[in-house]
Amino acid sequence: MRCPELACLALIVCLAGCERETRHFTADVPGPAYPGPRAQTGTVAGRAENPYARNAYAVNEGKRLFRWYNCNGCHAEGGGGMGVPLMDAEWRYGDRPVDVFTSIHDGRPDGMPAFGGRVTDDQIWRLAAYVRAIEGRVASATAPNRDDSLQEAKPETRRAGQ
């Protein structure tokens, strides 16, 4: 039988259909629109999914932007500092993707600056996807597994969570 060939073929087909590998270069990806200003966060109906939650490229992009926009200046590499730690399972403003998005877009009263308008919404979704990877909440196959700089913490692929 031609099992190895068939197995290879099946693997290639699976990979091709895998959301993990898709690279969205332009911003017009299907995804939820910005859910609205802070006052409405609590009322956003349902649980909007992050369009990039399963996309390894976008999560890695989020990681790059986390450094570029100096999030780690306040949140260290997710461990906190001037800002709250993002590595733990405690969320002051909720852990749904829209809450994380809103935290970044609108800022939060105790010193989290608003990035909305200064950063594209598309990039905020990427950042939000990465913020959840910091805590180990994206699949290990999707989480970034290499660093461009020294990092004390465990790689995101090895963090607790699902």
């Binding site: 911003a27 790059r64 200064r118 598309d122």
Partner: protein
């Protein structure tokens, strides 16, 4: 080898023409490499020719057996006459030729290392995915300045390029001026060269570095010292405030929107370091590491849709209105 007059290898492309050609050396480093390259080519061609002639001779002079005859194995029993001699001569000749090439390359290496760098201009080159940053160093820090993608050099003065990479491994190759050298994150290297002929030379990243590696080129403008000093003085000046209302509106969008999160325009609040310095963007011939001509239309298209022109680039597409794009373009065009 070292006695060869390198000047014989210098060659100038027609003025005003962009050249990317290792056979047109514009400085001593490229000329020294060329002085090794031509003899190596000649020697290797002679060897190849000799082998082909010997092969042809052997084929022509050996006897032919009829198709049905059994294989002739007689040479296993009594060795061919002259075989040992032929092989020994071949090995001896190859050894001599190869040792000659080794000696010649060692001499070339010495020649490359012996470039006199007293009073050299120092430029810190930082490779990014997928563009080049140049910081012109100076003992007086107030005289340092940063620019991107277009490297100006004074003719006749040695230059020391201090090479670093920001993200992944890249390689700097300006064929008319010098051989390649890798830029490795966390490991600073130097490349020394000198341009002896004025001209415009194209360089290229020569180490695969991701999606837009092929569009990671640079332009080297080698000019007379006077012209170089004038250019450097222009580069040191901060950006002039825009005069027209449209450009002023563009500046406001630039500083309050996303652009200032990545780019620097010196003399303004925009001071981020993740993207090419735009202080004198309008003076550059091309955009995005030689990808596009720097024209009004292409600049406007780049501002809202960089990913349509250089897919995967680390500058996001943005949904600006047509009037905002025109304002931003007008502002960037004032950055002479």
């Amino acid at each position: 080898m070292s006695g060869l007059p390198l000047a014989a290898f210098l060659d100038t492309p027609p003025l005003g023409e962009l050249s990317q050609d290792a056979l047109r050396a514009a400085g001593p480093q490229a000329a020294a490499t060329l002085a090794l390259w031509w003899p190596t080519l000649a020697l290797c061609s002679a060897v190849l020719l000799g082998i082909l002639i010997a092969l042809g001779y052997a084929l022509a002079t050996s006897g032919r057996a009829v198709r049905s005859a059994p294989g002739d194995l007689s040479s296993l029993a009594n060795r061919e006459p002259g075989l040992v001699r032929a092989v020994s001569v071949g090995v001896a000749l190859s050894t001599v030729a190869l040792l000659g090439l080794v000696a010649a390359s060692a001499a070339t290496d010495r020649k490359l290392a012996s470039l006199d760098t007293a009073g050299a201009l120092q430029v810190h080159v930082i490779a990014h995915q997928w563009w080049w940053e140049f910081e012109y160093l100076d003992a007086d820090v107030t005289r340092r300045f940063v620019t991107a993608n277009e490297l100006h050099l004074p003719v006749g003065r040695a230059v020391e390029l201090v090479l670093d990479a920001d993200d992944v491994i890249h390689s700097l190759w300006i064929p008319n001026l010098a051989g390649k050298r890798d830029l490795i994150p966390g490991h600073t290297q130097t490349l020394r060269l000198r341009a002896d002929r004025a001209g415009v030379y194209r360089g290229q990243c020569a180490e695969y570095c991701g999606y837009q590696h092929a569009n990671m080129a640079l332009r080297v403008v080698a000019e007379e010292p006077g012209a170089f000093t004038a250019w450097a003085d222009r580069m040191r000046a901060p950006a002039a405030a825009p005069a027209t209302p449209l450009a002023q509106q563009g500046r406001a969008i630039f500083e309050n929107g996303t652009c200032a999160m990545c780019h620097t325009v010196s003399g303004t609040p925009a001071a981020a370091k993740h993207a090419p310095d735009l202080t004198h963007l309008a003076s550059r011939r091309r955009l995005a590491a030689e990808t596009l001509e720097n024209t009004h239309d292409l600049l406007a298209r780049w501002i809202s849709r960089p990913n349509a022109l250089k897919p995967g680039v680390y500058m996001p597409d943005q949904a600006y209105s047509e009037s905002d794009v025109q304002a931003l373009t007008a502002y960037l065009e004032t950055l002479k």
